[in-house]
């Protein structure tokens, strides 16, 4: 499910992540003052061409915009009613162009490449107590937990449905919640047992007290 978020390798995947991020920032800043729908239409056409160049995957990716459709319609309508049709079209086209451009970067850049680009700025935050090693551990844990939690929840839900035709009650969610909090505590113990040192890096900390 999470792997789906990357397009099959293409020419844009080979561009370094930092370059793509900088290009995205410049493109988005450049679009802000544009009020001419023709320029925006040209930008949208160019983006559409790139998406089409990715074949079936690119077109499937466009479908992800669907949840935003109601909000985009409302925004366009509000502008059209309070100003004119052109204002509504311009604002919606600009939003869609920015979304599509940003999504191009996301679908052609691996998460680890993005983390690497972010590492130097994150290091600057170290005096504020940000530890890049802990950050990447936390990100990895989230990505691992998502499928685990889905599987565990489905198992509980199925067990309920096999026994009752009633809706899943809140206390089932509560029992699930208690279960996963205990799971988290066991994962933490396992990390400590394997010597993942979460103490600050700078002054080598004294031996850690045993986990409670």
């Amino acid at each position: 499910m999470i792997a789906d978020s990357l397009a099959p390798p293409n020419w844009l995947s080979r561009v370094p992540a930092g370059v793509k991020l900088a290009a995205l920032a410049l493109f988005s800043i450049a679009l802000v003052p544009v009020d001419d729908w023709r320029i925006l239409a040209a930008a949208l056409l160019a983006l559409g061409a790139i998406y089409a160049g990715f074949g079936r995957y690119g077109l499937a990716r466009l479908k992800l915009l669907r949840p935003l459709l109601p909000l985009l319609v409302v925004i366009g309508a509000v502008q059209a009613l309070s100003n004119d049709w052109e204002a509504g079209a311009v604002i919606v086209m600009r939003l869609v162009a920015m979304l599509l451009a940003a999504d191009l970067v996301s679908m052609t850049t691996t998460m680890s490449a993005l983390m690497e680009v972010l590492a130097p700025p994150l290091r600057l935050l170290r005096p504020l107590g940000v530890n890049p090693r802990k950050m990447s551990l936390a990100v990895a844990l989230v990505l691992r937990f998502v499928p685990v939690l889905m599987t565990r929840w489905r198992a509980r839900e199925e067990a309920w449905k096999a026994r009752s035709s009633r809706r899943v009650p809140v206390r089932l969610i509560a029992a699930f919640f208690a279960e996963i909090l205990q799971l988290a505590d066991r994962v933490a113990e396992a990390l400590d047992a394997r010597g993942f040192d979460t103490a600050p890096v700078a002054p080598r900390a004294a031996p850690r007290p045993p986990a409670d």
Binding site: M1, V78, M107, D185
Partner: protein, 184 residues
Amino acid sequence: MESRTIVRIALIAAVIAVLGLLPGVVLPIAAGVPVTAQTLGVMLAGIVLGPRHGALAVLLFVFVVLLGAPLLSGGRGGLGVLFGPSVGFLVGFVPAAFVTGLLMQRLKRLPVFVAALVAAIGGGIVVEYACGIVGLMAVARMSVVQALVATAVFIPGDLLKALATAFVAEASFRAYPAAIAGRA
């Protein structure tokens, strides 16, 4: 920060993601607009972890979404969400969780259900919508009133989610008192 704290923060961030993904938890209201349980996760984050760690869990969730994981409700993710009209709601998740946690802490004397309900409404609805409306005003160039009207359809759903949050908080507290920060 101990491993235990980091793992709990990551776990709650994952819970927020799962609540946005599970199709079963999509609440069928607001005429076709998909309302998912994602904000329910944000409210729970503040209640379960307290203001600081709750906000960190939400921040971690937002960070992972921006890195490209399609964990936002509707399977969205990546840098595109920063340019969407609903960016204020996404960014608002962080202060929303913080305020929810803060209110929960302040209302220690009240029963868990009541405290959680008030905290979820204060953080998850008042703060969240304030941020979302400011975002709409900036991104979509709407006026306050226009933005309020455009988002009002979601408020009944979020009130239901606040109620669900309170039920889950109460029931979790009974099953495992350590589930609620500072209550055990």
